[in-house]
């Protein structure tokens, strides 16, 4: 392994150990240590990677999800859905049936997609359409309910899904949140990208202070 690739493969970025750090740490331990600083760094990196993997596996959806999750019913009118999302400052909400089983998810994108925007389904495209239009462009969906525009089936995770699995799911499916369901399919929480980010931060703190 060349020195360069060695440096690039560390999981620490600019936070990696220097030879100086290792030398100082070795000096702090009385007695002769039968290991080279190079071997120590390699050991440290490998051990660190194992710790990250272990802790990633030990963090599950249940630990990081928001429990006071807001949901809407299939038949909730869209203006109510929009109102709820606006008031709570959330960009997506699970849709549940009468038995509180998750049947879909509504996100801002689902709204934008039905507001006549040409091209990409984002806020500015809608704005552009809006500025050119005479009336309100929400007219076509005014009388509709959650069921009509939700993304379905919902991409959900179980309470036992690991942190790493959820992160991978978010990337693969290009989603920002996933409802968490129990074994019967009932909504018990929601995990968002922010929760993943927070768990990442907590994980590195946990490893460093163990």
């Amino acid at each position: 392994m060349s020195k360069n690739s060695d440096e690039n493969q560390t999981p620490f970025g600019g936070m990696d150990l220097t030879d100086q750090d290792v030398q100082e740490a070795m000096k702090a331990i009385p007695g002769y240590l039968d290991i080279t600083p190079g071997d120590f760094k390699e050991l440290y990196r490998n051990a660190y990677r194992h710790a990250v993997e272990r802790i990633s596996r030990s963090i599950i959806a249940k630990d990081i999800m928001a429990k006071d999750v807001i949901s809407v019913r299939r038949d909730t009118l869209l203006h109510e859905v929009a109102e709820i999302m606006g008031r709570r400052g959330i960009s997506g909400v699970p849709v549940v049936d009468a038995d509180s089983r998750v049947v879909g998810v509504i996100s801002e994108t689902d709204f934008l997609a039905r507001m006549g925007a040409s091209g990409p389904k984002n806020f500015m495209s809608v704005m552009a359409t809006c500025l050119k239009a005479k009336g309100c462009i929400t007219l076509p969906i005014q009388a509709q309910t959650a069921e009509d525009i939700m993304s379905s089936p919902a991409i959900t995770v179980t309470e036992q899904a690991t942190y790493a699995e959820i992160a991978r799911l978010f990337i693969e499916k290009a989603i920002n949140r996933a409802p968490v369901i129990d074994q019967q399919g009932h909504l018990v929480g929601i995990v968002s990208r922010a929760d993943i980010l927070e768990a990442t931060q907590a994980t590195s703190c946990k490893i460093l202070h163990q």
Partner: protein, 180 residues
């Protein structure tokens, strides 16, 4: 390919830091006590009997036991297992090829390394023990497999006893790290 081969000879890291002076002192004292005990016993008990308790590889063991006592190489299973394996393998190698000392010597050392690795008892001085069994002359050859008992077995037991008693006296030292 070739460039990489030569580049590997440059090394990749720096040497570990030098130990503190107290450590130098305790290592010196440990080495002195360890070797003097074995040497004194050798003289007092065995003089005139033609027996020996003392072989050169104990000097190498003393380096580990008193100078690098935290090293896995210096732990009791390595000290005992390594020397016993080296002794038995060395004697066997000589018995197999008494007329080809170079072959017996090479086999003794190489096989000792392999056997110690396989049994997790790597102890470098035991390579010397194996070599002594082959190259140590008539007196050693006459001992046959008794070489593994005396001087090797008894000698390393004494060294181990001294290491245990001595290394746990200084506040900053402890020995061993593990027994198994």
């Amino acid at each position: 390919m070739l460039r990489n081969y030569f580049r590997k000879m440059q090394g990749t890291t720096k040497s570990p830091p030098r130990v503190q002076w107290p450590e130098v002192f305790w290592s010196w004292l440990g080495g002195f006590v360890g070797i003097s005990v074995v040497a004194t016993l050798n003289q007092a008990v065995l003089e005139g009997t033609g027996q020996i308790l003392f072989i050169a590889s104990f000097g190498a063991s003393a380096v580990l036991l008193f100078g690098a006592l935290k090293s896995p190489l210096a732990q009791p299973p390595n000290l005992l297992g390594g020397h016993l394996l080296g002794a038995v393998i060395g004697v066997s190698a000589y018995k197999l090829f008494p007329a080809h000392l170079w072959l017996a010597a090479a086999l003794a050392v190489a096989t000792s390394i392999a056997a110690m690795h396989a049994t997790k008892t790597l102890h470098p001085p035991a390579g010397a023990t194996a070599l002594i069994a082959v190259m140590g002359g008539e007196k050693i050859h006459q001992l046959g497999y008794l070489f593994a008992v005396m001087p090797v077995g008894v000698g390393v037991m004494i060294l181990l006893a001294v290491a245990l008693l001595f290394n746990n006296i200084p506040r900053n030292r402890r020995y061993p790290e593990f027994w198994f």
